[in-house]
């Protein structure tokens, strides 16, 4: 041994210093919330998802939800298949509620305003302050909102009764006119229940039931079932009557571009044509007689023949007419809804396709009560005002005087969980929990009850408290007992009261939590109802419009933002609007001929001026709007709503008067005319639309209904073998003209990218029925949520760098307000086609993209060098590239809590794309092994990609194409099946589309 350090000593030193370094690194500074699995929760198995049921509170529809949690964090929401409203699907906004949960702009805790700044305080202090202020208000408390479920509403009612005051229900978007119309016409104060799927002719008088109606998911599913061609070649027809094609309108087979507000005239004209003398209309006979076909046609601005023919077909039944929805609430909206009900009545639809009562729950008199509340606030009669679940400072026009009246109240309390324009004025902010952290219940319609249960511990970044708990606590401080110390106890107490014995209640409670629904769905079925005479004044004429501008302003709720409450979700901001395909900013829709006549081009910034306000907004040319109208969506122009919402777009309500529709008390959205003058500035439209014309390429072809079943048998036979080979995947060269397909697989195909394809047991594939797809874009957001797809922001999106793996292409074949007899719009969900002969694969120099034996084209993120050759060579352009560290830079804490742990979060400089939800395939495969199934293959239908899971229209089916009995194979065996561009470039995609079916002859874009 020489001197110097010995091996043993060296190891000792190394060990000690190493342990020391580790200990130092493990210092508990800044990590107060380490939670090791000392006592492991029974519900949590690391790496395995735990699912909870709850109810979405994104809109009034209240879809049942399945919430997927991983290691205690909510990572995804999906539709609950047990729930009668959602039936397993979910809309885009439903998915985006997740971003409200992790919204980094949420209040960190209860806040007290001191001068201009907010000071965070404790719940103890905040509640004491509120109790004291309510006491000193001496019975003059006003509670706005609070309607998040029946128990909560009852609790708040009890609270305001106890402390003295009143509650005002306020809902910016409410189908109140329809509810009021049903009350007037049939004496039932509920929305009617539509059986859309039973109708063979559906006429919507401006009801946007697919995107912003009373229950978009439920109606979307029913609509797809009604309108898609079935195996017998039968298809329901949909006619849209209104001045502008909404997403719902774009799904119509015919468009009757009536004047804004002429719905009543058209409906009554049709009723008159059906019931000549009007006798069938009972108490409304005189109204129907007054609107003979000619008068109606003149009022609506359409031809008499149009009215007569439509009426004729409508009378054949089964048919259904839908009265104007939120986007068409003009001053006579209740009367227009009554007219639609009369039409349904004379056509014999009541009791068949339309049931009186049992429809979705909506607020009554949502705005007129608010008007009264504003008056009392302005009059100094309110001591304390509390706002919960509403943002009237944003969603009401300045002329309503809300802001001034609210500001004049001595003590203003907001229960907003994140900043909004109303809480920005509040003196005390008591942040509510997100519904995924809180207890509650919901009653989407009579007979259907569901419990909201928290799916995770409250997000620790925010010291929030459920408003129900605050109400109970404040009440007890004031000496009132409202039942239960916490809202959870209160809720259970309320539900216990519905049951007799305790054991029965416990079982029912557990079952309600497990299945996500309780109560008995009556299905809304009702016997035939009789029309009643009106008990309120109704005007069926064209509604009054303010101002003398030459264009009618149509303000409609946004399919992405609702009335604006989703504006701080970057998913929603970056989701191309289903109609205009614009992201991030606002736009004014204008007919191309109107624009041309005024020398206005797409992207010109114009001043829109109404008697009530003016806005500057860029123009979006849209052929689906009448020449005398322009349209502006709600939801933009926030000032205090969070980092993604503020300053994006304009707030359309500033152009509107504060008028409530009579007699329903709804807020009027189609109320004014405007003048439009160019400012001379321009702004590039942020859109993913390259061209809305498919240039006669075989991308989204259609087939006429009459042509179905007429394909010559011989042709199918000739390609039979080839098609089958393509169906099961693998590289199959198309044989020369007349030659036989070569034996499969080819010798060469046993190597490289296509090796072992013949040994695989599955060939994963997809079928998308374009006759069902409504373009609602729920799949896009579902995919974004499932696959950790970042958003890129307005500037990047403007450059064309948006990252969504799916997009809904919207091609116009025939959209023209001037001759809109038949409407042909093609929606095409575009995602990676998983080509058997994929152009992206051979060009990658490092094998970062290759083909699995099961036919999935996969991208290996770690291997990608970022040459982008694959994207260039992809004819479908479905590969997206991480130009920056979007996942780091754009996703602040705790938004990143939403990341799906089963999917790699991608970094800068690499390519990504749809993986067919590989993680779900693997999960199912693992389950098949764990459960020791004999064949160890997932069962058909067990693997459901996020897009399919979310699709309200059931347009997407995923499965094993190699199994001839799988559902996807069955769907694909259809004469309408085609593959995009395949006939030109032989890519042999695994995504099979079923052509859209039209009633008219397909003039262009057919390519078959």
């Amino acid at each position: 041994m020489t001197d110097g350090i010995k091996r043993r000593d060296f190891l000792k030193v190394l060990g000690v210093s190493g342990a020391g370094a580790t200990l130092t690194a493990c210092s508990t500074e800044n990590v107060e919330r380490l939670l090791p699995y000392v006592t492991m929760s029974e519900d949590i198995i690391p790496g395995v998802s735990t699912w909870y049921t709850t109810v979405c509170d994104g809109c009034a529809a209240q879809c049942g939800m399945w919430v997927r949690t991983r290691e205690g964090r909510v990572v995804k929401v999906e539709g609950n298949p047990n729930h009668p409203v959602s039936q397993g699907a979910l809309c885009s906004r439903g998915h985006a509620t997740l971003q409200h949960l992790y919204n980094p702009d949420r209040y960190p805790g209860p806040m007290i305003r001191e001068g201009d700044v907010l000071r965070q305080t404790t719940w103890e202090e905040a509640e004491a302050l509120l109790a004291q202020r309510i006491q000193s208000a001496a019975g003059n408390a006003l509670f706005i909102g609070g309607a998040t479920g029946p128990s909560m509403a009852r609790l708040v009612d009890a609270f305001v009764r106890a402390v003295g005051g009143r509650r005002v229900q306020y809902d910016a978007l409410s189908d109140a006119p329809l509810r009021e119309a049903t009350r007037i016409a049939f004496g039932v104060d509920e929305l009617p229940r539509y059986e859309i799927s039973q109708a063979r002719l559906l006429v919507s008088f401006g009801d946007d039931f697919l995107e912003t109606g009373a229950s978009p998911v439920e109606h979307g599913r029913a609509f797809a079932r009604m309108s898609a061609a079935d195996e017998h070649g039968s298809k329901g027809r949909f006619v849209f009557a209104g001045p502008r094609l909404s997403l719902t309108g774009l799904n119509a087979d015919e468009w009757i571009p009536i004047r804004a507000g002429a719905e009543a005239a058209l409906a009554l004209g049709m009723a008159a044509a059906i019931a000549e003398d009007g006798a069938a209309a009972g108490p409304y006979a005189s109204v129907v007689r007054a609107y003979d076909v000619r008068t109606a046609a003149n009022a609506a601005g359409v031809s008499e023949d149009t009215v007569r023919q439509l009426a004729e077909r409508f009378a054949e039944g089964p048919s259904l007419a839908l009265g104007p929805g939120v986007g068409a609430h003009h001053r006579n909206a209740t009367a227009a809804n009554v007219a639609a009900l009369i039409l349904n009545f004379v056509a014999g639809n009541v009791g068949r396709t339309l049931h009186v009562g049992g429809g979705p729950n909506v607020a009554t008199r949502p705005f007129s009560e608010m008007e009264a509340a504003i008056r009392s606030m302005a009059g100094g009669q309110v001591g304390v005002v509390m706002v919960h679940g509403a943002n009237p400072a944003y969603s009401l026009p300045p002329s309503s005087g809300f802001a001034e009246a609210f500001g004049s109240v001595g003590f203003k309390v907001s229960f907003a969980s994140a900043p909004d324009e109303t809480s920005a004025m509040a003196d005390l902010i008591l942040p509510d929990r997100h519904f995924l952290e809180a207890w509650g219940d919901s009653m989407p319609r009579s007979g259907v009850m569901a419990i909201r249960q928290p799916a995770m511990q409250p997000v620790p970044h925010f010291d929030s408290k459920q408003t129900g708990d605050v109400v109970l606590s404040v009440a007890s401080r004031l000496g009132h007992s409202l039942g239960g110390a916490t809202f959870y106890e209160h809720l259970r107490g309320a539900h216990r009261a519905m049951h007799g014995s305790d054991p029965a209640f416990e079982a029912a409670w557990r079952e309600a939590l497990r299945s996500g629904v309780s109560g008995h769905d009556m299905g809304g079925a009702s016997g035939p109802a009789q029309l009643r005479g009106p008990d309120a004044a109704l005007t069926f004429d064209l509604p009054e419009l303010d101002g003398d501008g030459d264009l009618t302003l149509l303000v409609h709720p946004s399919a992405r933002f609702g009335a604006g409450e989703f504006a701080n979700s970057p998913w929603m901001q970056e989701l191309p609007d289903p109609v205009s395909k614009v992201m991030w900013h606002s736009w004014l829709e204008m007919n191309p001929r109107t624009a041309e006549a005024r020398g206005i081009r797409e992207g010109d910034v114009v001043t829109v001026e109404s008697p009530h306000g003016s806005l500057e907004v860029p123009i979006r040319i849209y052929p689906g709007i009448r020449e005398d109208s322009v349209a502006l969506a709600l939801g933009g122009g926030h000032t205090d709503f969070g980092r993604w919402a503020n300053g994006n777009g304009v707030n359309a309500v500033t152009l509107l008067p504060a008028v409530s529709e009579q007699p329903s008390g709804a807020f009027v959205t189609v109320a004014t005319t405007v003048t439009v003058t160019p400012t001379g500035q321009r702004r590039r439209t942020v859109t993913n639309e390259g061209s809305s014309d498919q240039h006669d390429r075989p991308i989204a072809p259609a087939v006429a209904l009459a042509e179905l079943g007429r394909e010559p048998a011989g042709e199918e036979e000739a390609h039979g073998e080839l098609k089958e080979l393509q169906g099961v995947g693998g590289f199959v060269p198309v044989p020369a003209e007349g030659g036989e397909p070569t034996a499969f697989p080819l010798e060469g195909s046993r190597h490289g990218n296509y090796a072992n394809a013949h040994e695989a047991r599955a060939r994963w594939g997809m079928a998308i029925d374009l006759d069902k797809c409504t373009g609602c874009s729920a799949c896009v957001t579902a995919c974004q949520a499932e696959n950790n797809i970042p958003w890129v922001g307005e500037q990047q999106a403007l450059m064309g760098r948006e990252m969504q793996w799916m997009r809904i292409e919207r091609y116009y074949e025939h959209v023209d307000a001037a001759e809109a007899s038949h409407l042909d719009v093609r929606f095409l969900p575009m995602l990676c086609q998983h080509c058997s002969n994929a152009p992206c694969e051979p060009v990658c120099p490092v094998f970062a993209t290759y083909h699995t034996p099961e036919g999935v084209n996969v991208q290996i993120y770690n291997r990608c060098v970022g040459t982008r050759y694959c994207a260039n060579n992809c004819p479908y352009k479905v590969r997206t590239y991480n130009w920056y560290r979007y996942t780091d830079e754009n996703v602040p804490e705790p938004m990143n809590w939403q990341w799906n742990p089963d999917v790699t979060v991608r970094t800068n400089g690499i390519m990504e794309k749809c993986s067919f939800c590989m993680q779900r395939i693997r999960e199912a495969e693992n389950r098949a092994v764990v459960e020791r199934r004999e064949d160890r293959i997932p069962r058909d239908g067990e693997i459901v990609p996020a897009c399919q899971q979310s699709c309200p229209a059931e347009a997407i089916v995923f499965g094993n194409l190699r199994d001839p009995n799988s559902r996807v194979s069955q769907v694909v065996r259809n004469e309408r099946t085609y593959r995009v561009l395949d006939e030109i470039i032989n890519t042999q995609p695994a995504v099979n589309y079923l052509k859209k079916v039209t009633f008219h002859e397909v003039a262009s874009g057919g390519h078959d």
Partner: protein, 457 residues
């Protein structure tokens, strides 16, 4: 050699050279103290190199997003400039190897500069794939080397072929270049002092000018020339397959290989003109770079211009003749779409302007040739821009059409690449004899022979 003896004037390629010793003196003068002009250019180039690496560094720091690239245009200015520089690199080897084998009498004066240009152009071009990829730190994955992952590059990918093509070309052209300089560097060594002398001693590999050395040198030069010749054709063919192997309308054409080779020679010769005109002026080499040389280069430009123009027209013709709507739309869009200006710049600079070269007066006017060569350089850059960008921005899926706008960083790197190239070229003019002394002397009539002729007559 009998340096002081006057040689015959007028009958030769270099009528103004009086004595063989003038050659050494005049050419090696360039290696002496540089003038203000050189320093000004060098300072400019050095600043540009700073811009180049500054821009690249910023891109590495922030991400490839600082470029204007987007979907569907995943390749833009970087690939355009890559192909441009690879193209420039071509004429060097063409002049030194092919023309050597064909014994073209006008190559001696320009081939050294052309070869240097080749080496520096490949050095510039080779950086662009690295600048272009998203994760340059993994770019070595394109090289086949044994590794623990048992992963090889995808030999089906033209990008892997590119790696081979460009590295091979760089190696061969660099070896060829240095081999050719040996006798001249030895001459410079003999005239130099200090550090320079040491440097030249190393590069000249102990050249003494013995018969045996000359013999080996001559053989090696011929073999390397023969080896380099197929590379002239192959390298740019491979580069063209980066595009032709793709299915993008506007790329997927069999004409691409010959079309690119012709274009490469076209642009390369134009660049030689662009470089030699100021070099001749600054170093006073008018006697060695005569209008005769420029005339020959202009003729080569004219020929390749016609080939390139033919390729353009045949592309348009084939798009129409194929009857394939998508192909037709792509080429219609090329002329009248968003990037119409790029296509028309390309057609004007590469098709119309070179028509002037039919005129002898133009070919013999050095200023005119200089201007025309600049036009050709611009035109050839735009040719690649048209191919890369215009084809990509309107592909199969109309919904995904989009417009690419180069960013300021891309422009910085583009301009910086010229400076990077110029930086090396300026150093070359100062460090190595810019004209091949020994070859030049070969074509000058030996004074002894002349005297003997006089004796005999």
């Amino acid at each position: 050699m009998a340096g002081g003896t006057p040689i015959e004037r007028g009958a030769l390629t270099h009528p103004d050279v009086e004595r063989l010793s003038d050659v050494n003196r005049d050419v090696l003068r360039a290696l002496g103290r540089p003038g203000l002009g050189w320093w000004a250019l060098f300072a400019l180039a050095a600043a540009g190199v700073g811009l180049f690496f500054g821009s690249w560094g910023w891109q590495l720091y922030r991400g490839i997003g600082v470029s204007g690239l987007m979907s569907p245009v995943g390749w833009g200015v970087y690939i355009t400039t890559f192909v441009f520089w690879v193209g420039i690199a071509h004429s060097g080897t063409l002049i030194s190897a092919i023309l050597f084998l064909f014994r073209a009498p006008w190559r001696q004066s320009i081939y050294r500069a052309a070869e240097a240009m080749t080496v520096f152009a490949v050095m510039t071009a080779g950086l662009f794939p690295l600048i272009h990829v998203g994760r340059v730190w993994h770019a070595y994955w394109l090289v086949p080397y044994p590794n623990s992952r048992f992963l090889w590059p995808n030999f089906k990918s033209p990008l892997v072929w590119d790696v081979f093509a460009v590295t091979t070309y760089f190696t061969v052209s660099a070896v060829f270049f240095f081999l050719g300089t040996i006798p001249d560097v030895a001459a410079a060594r003999d005239a130099a002092k200090g550090l320079r002398k040491k440097l030249y001693s190393v590069i000249s590999l102990g050249w003494r000018g013995t018969d045996q050395q000359w013999h080996h040198f001559g053989k090696a030069y011929i073999f390397l020339a023969a080896l380099a010749t197929p590379l002239v054709l192959s390298v740019h063919s491979v580069v063209s397959w980066d595009f032709a192997m793709g299915i993008v309308p506007g790329w997927h054409a069999t004409i691409f290989a010959p079309y690119f080779v012709a274009g490469a020679i076209f642009s390369g010769v134009a660049m030689v003109i662009t470089l030699t005109v100021p070099m001749r002026k600054i170093f006073g080499l008018e006697a060695y770079l005569t209008t005769k040389h420029f005339d020959a280069m202009a003729k080569l430009c004219l020929l390749t211009s016609l080939i390139v123009l033919y390729a353009y027209l045949s592309e348009f013709f084939m798009a129409w003749y194929s009857g394939e709507e998508i192909e037709r739309t792509a080429f219609w869009n090329r002329l009248f779409g968003t990037y119409w200006w790029a296509s028309w710049t390309m057609l004007t600079c590469n098709g119309l302007v070179p028509i002037l070269l039919w005129f002898k007066r133009v070919r013999h006017s050095i200023p005119a040739l200089f201007v025309i060569s600049i036009f050709i350089n611009i035109g050839m850059w735009f040719e690649r821009y048209v191919i890369v960008v215009t084809s990509l921005h309107h592909e199969y899926e109309p919904w995904a059409w989009g417009v690419y706008r180069p960013s300021i960083v891309e422009m910085g790197i583009l301009i910086g690449s010229f400076c990077w190239f110029g930086f090396w070229f300026l150093l070359f003019t100062r460090l190595l004899p810019p004209i091949a002394i020994q070859e030049l002397k070969e074509v000058l009539p030996p004074p002894l022979r002349k005297q003997r002729q006089e004796v005999h007559s």
